[in-house]
């Protein structure tokens, strides 16, 4: 998937700003394209363990969808951070994706080491494999 540099920088800044808590947001693009045009921060609604868990409220997704529909954009994926944890989906991420509606959806995981070094990786969940597959992440100039 491709992503404009300023949007990737905004996502990484969000992950650093939120440290030591997990942050999350949605990836906006055009249906059927492997290109993210914009990101939108949304609140981490996890109440009990926001350092190691995140939750995106469906109401927040509906609001973002409504705001960007006029521009022809829709939600094509999601991002969340892993403070001081690896930049790859956890078993928690995999199990919840497998229980939900995630087939073909992009997930970017941003590892944040010590609150300063933010590393993004991209993945696509596949129902058939019940797993995330690595997706090349190209950040445009």
């Amino acid at each position: 998937m491709k992503m404009p540099r300023e949007q990737a920088e905004a996502m990484l800044a969000h992950a650093r700003d939120g440290y030591p808590f997990e942050v999350c947001g949605v990836l906006l693009g055009r249906a059927g394209e492997r290109r993210v045009e914009r990101i939108a921060r949304v609140a981490n609604r996890e109440q009990e363990s926001p350092r190691v868990r995140y939750a995106i409220a469906p109401e927040d997704q509906l609001r973002v969808q409504r705001e960007c529909r006029g521009q022809g954009l829709e939600i094509v994926g999601y991002y969340h951070s892993h403070p001081d944890h690896p930049a790859r989906p956890s078993e928690t991420d995999r199990r919840i994706a497998a229980e939900g509606l995630s087939d073909g959806v992009i997930h970017v995981v941003v590892g944040v080491a010590g609150g300063t070094e933010a590393t993004p990786t991209a993945w696509v969940f596949r129902d058939g494999a019940q797993a995330f597959e690595p997706e090349p992440l190209e950040i445009d100039a």
Partner: protein, 97 residues
């Protein structure tokens, strides 16, 4: 009751790629049945074996989560807009529902 249903990306393949479909249904449960009749696979993606909405599936009727209304028995009326929205969660920590 003719209602519009907004389909999230992961389910569009079931509906021939459509982002929105129109069905006739008088309740949310009837809507799932109508979707299933038109496009096989919807029921198992939305409901568990007891016919209850799955934990990570949310259905909204005109911006109201049916869990705050009457769940699968929530009535529908002509012109309602129904949105199927994935609940997204996870994180580095252990799995807890």
């Amino acid at each position: 009751m003719a209602v519009k249903v907004q389909i999230p990306g992961p389910l569009r393949a079931l509906a021939g790629g459509a982002a929105e479909v129109q069905v006739e249904a008088a309740s949310v449960r009837a809507l799932v049945d109508a979707l299933q009749a038109k496009h096989a696979g919807f029921r198992e993606r939305l409901l568990d074996e007891s016919g209850t909405l799955k934990a990570y599936v949310r259905i909204f009727v005109n911006d109201d989560d049916v869990r705050t209304l009457e769940g699968e028995r929530t009535p529908l009326k002509d012109g309602d807009v129904v949105a199927i929205v994935p609940a997204i969660a996870g994180g580095a920590g252990v799995h807890v529902i």
